[in-house]
């Protein structure tokens, strides 16, 4: 007798693949495919306990889903009284469906199609590839379930009505489109990682989903994108390895330099470090460079052992590729650790024009001023940061700093 829990686990593991193939079978109708996959799962729940789990549960599920798809299409065709049915799927044997390359790749590219709005890309990816419910996605993004449902309905309607193809993009577009998939995965990760308000359990789930996506990319990506996919996966694994150490018992933020490094997930760090050399090969991209920076932090036994000159060099390289003020700020922070706050302060001040509304620019400045003993100016900068942040743990952190400075 099979427990429903075991079937549920199998289904969770196979859902994305079964759904991805079913979408192809029903010619890109996401809603119909989701319904059919749900039915296939119900069939498994009804039959597996008595018949035993099939040898190849995925093939079984795909075969049941395919038959249901064909039945449904036939029924619909009859309803419309169309004599000649266009049914390319009928001749395809189940074994072929299972043998074909993983359809999750098509699903990924379609969900992250540039013709869909970025927030729709994220929602659709989480819903179809991640299997999160609409309610869960809504909670993670602080939207109402109705808004999120609407977003998903609109995205699926656009795929159908504008005929966004269910294919892996052709070679001329592949690199750009893979970049977009990576950007969506990274967006999901950051949403989970940024300690803003919301359900912390769900946020951890978002990180896990993003990491799963990155793993999928490493497994399936085209050769030209493989290095960056590895970089992305390593970067996520490294950040995520610090999840238990980056907040204290009260949920307050603990800075990297103050974290208890024994509480980092060292198995996960080891997995990430093994990816970094390959990620850096052949003109490293932005994810690989950021992963290399995170790797240097992960390798330092104590905060004082951090290789700041090397980190500064990597930020230089990153800035050369994507010259943004935020990267320049991070570089200045690394330089401050390496050559001291007096050297770095002018570099931070230089960015005022672009970052005057960015709370972390004020916070970084405040920190340098504090370390230089300029108490009054530091206090003003912390207050400016506090006035601009919307992040709750960040706000508490800044308040603690302000209290400490006022007391001394």
């Amino acid at each position: 007798m099979l427990a429903a829990g075991a079937i549920e686990a199998t289904f969770r593991a196979e859902r994305a693949r079964v759904l991805a193939t079913t979408i192809r079978v029903v010619n890109g109708d996401f809603d119909l495919a989701e319904e059919i996959v749900q039915d296939a799962f119900a069939a498994a729940l009804a039959r597996w306990p008595a018949e035993g789990t099939p040898d190849e549960p995925r093939a079984w599920l795909i075969s049941v889903a395919r038959n249901k798809a064909i039945d449904t299409i036939r029924r619909r065709v009859k309803l419309r009284e169309i004599v000649a049915a266009e049914d390319a799927t009928e001749g395809t044997a189940t074994s072929e469906l299972v043998a074909v390359p993983d359809d999750r790749l098509r699903l990924m590219y379609t969900c992250c199609h540039p013709a869909l709005a970025p927030e729709a890309q994220v929602a659709l990816t989480l819903r179809t590839l991640g299997g999160l419910t609409t309610d869960e996605i809504a909670r993670a993004y602080l939207a109402t379930p109705a808004t999120m449902a609407q977003r998903l309905v609109r995205a699926k309607a656009k795929i159908r009505d504008a005929r966004i193809p269910y294919v892996v993009p052709e070679a001329s577009e592949l690199a750009e489109r893979t970049e977009q998939v990576m950007a969506v995965a990274y967006l999901i990760f950051n949403e989970g990682y940024a300690a803003t308000a919301g359900d912390s359990w769900l946020r951890r789930d978002l990180c896990r989903e993003a990491i799963r996506l990155a793993r999928l990319l490493v497994e399936l990506a085209d050769p030209a994108s493989l290095a960056e996919a590895r970089g992305l996966l390593a970067l996520m694994l490294l950040h995520d390895s610090r999840r238990d150490a980056r907040t204290d018992g009260d949920g307050d933020l603990v800075l990297l330099e103050d974290q208890d490094r024994a509480r980092w997930d060292h198995a996960q760090i080891a997995e990430a470090l093994a990816l970094v050399p390959d990620a850096l090969r052949g003109g490293p991209g932005p994810y690989a460079l950021q992963a290399a920076i995170a790797a240097l932090h992960a390798q330092a036994k104590a905060a004082a052992d951090t290789d700041w000159p090397q980190i500064t060099a990597l930020f230089h390289e990153l800035y050369r590729r994507t010259p943004t003020a935020v990267i320049a700020l991070n570089r200045a922070a690394a330089i401050a650790m390496w050559r001291g706050p007096a050297f770095a302060l002018p570099l931070v001040d230089e960015l005022k024009g672009e970052l005057a509304d960015y709370p972390l620019w004020h916070a970084a400045r405040a920190d340098l001023l504090r370390r230089l003993g300029k108490q009054r100016e530091s206090l003003a900068a912390y207050r400016a940061a506090l006035a601009r942040t919307t992040n709750e743990p960040e706000r508490r952190f800044l308040e603690r700093r302000i209290t400490a400075l006022t007391a001394s």
């Binding site: 013709a115 504008a162 005929r163 966004i164 193809p165 294919v167 052709e170 577009e173």
Partner: protein, 117 residues
């Protein structure tokens, strides 16, 4: 599947352009149109006269009003269109990217409603 490729241009950009450059763009348009006719994608297409020739008409409560000018005052104006046959949005996007105005204005890609399906 048919898509309408709706061309939005800033007329001022065309007006301020040196003549040689304008001729060059016209040439590119001719070439593009000939290409998609040859490849079988072309269904229809035309350029429109400038916005100063536009009239907007409305009937409300049985009363007709005519207004001089376009329906919406925007920086970019509807300058022309193509209707093309394409297998999916990706093919339509590829065709749209070859329209010369994609580089100076923008192209809206809209699936044409099919009532016979």
């Amino acid at each position: 599947m048919q898509y309408m490729l709706i061309i939005y241009d800033e007329e001022k950009v065309w007006d301020d352009m040196p003549e040689a450059e304008r001729n060059q763009l016209f040439g590119e348009y001719m070439e593009f149109t000939a290409d998609i006719k040859k490849s079988g994608h072309f269904v229809a297409g035309d350029a429109l006269q400038p916005i100063r020739t536009a009239t907007t008409l409305r009937i409300r409560d049985g009363k007709t009003t005519n207004t001089d000018g376009p329906f919406a005052e925007t920086r970019e104006q509807l300058g022309g269109f193509y209707i093309v046959e394409a297998k999916d949005l990706d093919e339509a996007r590829k065709i749209a990217a070859r329209i010369p105005s994609a580089r100076i204005g923008s192209i809206e890609i809209r699936p044409v409603m099919n009532f016979s399906a």
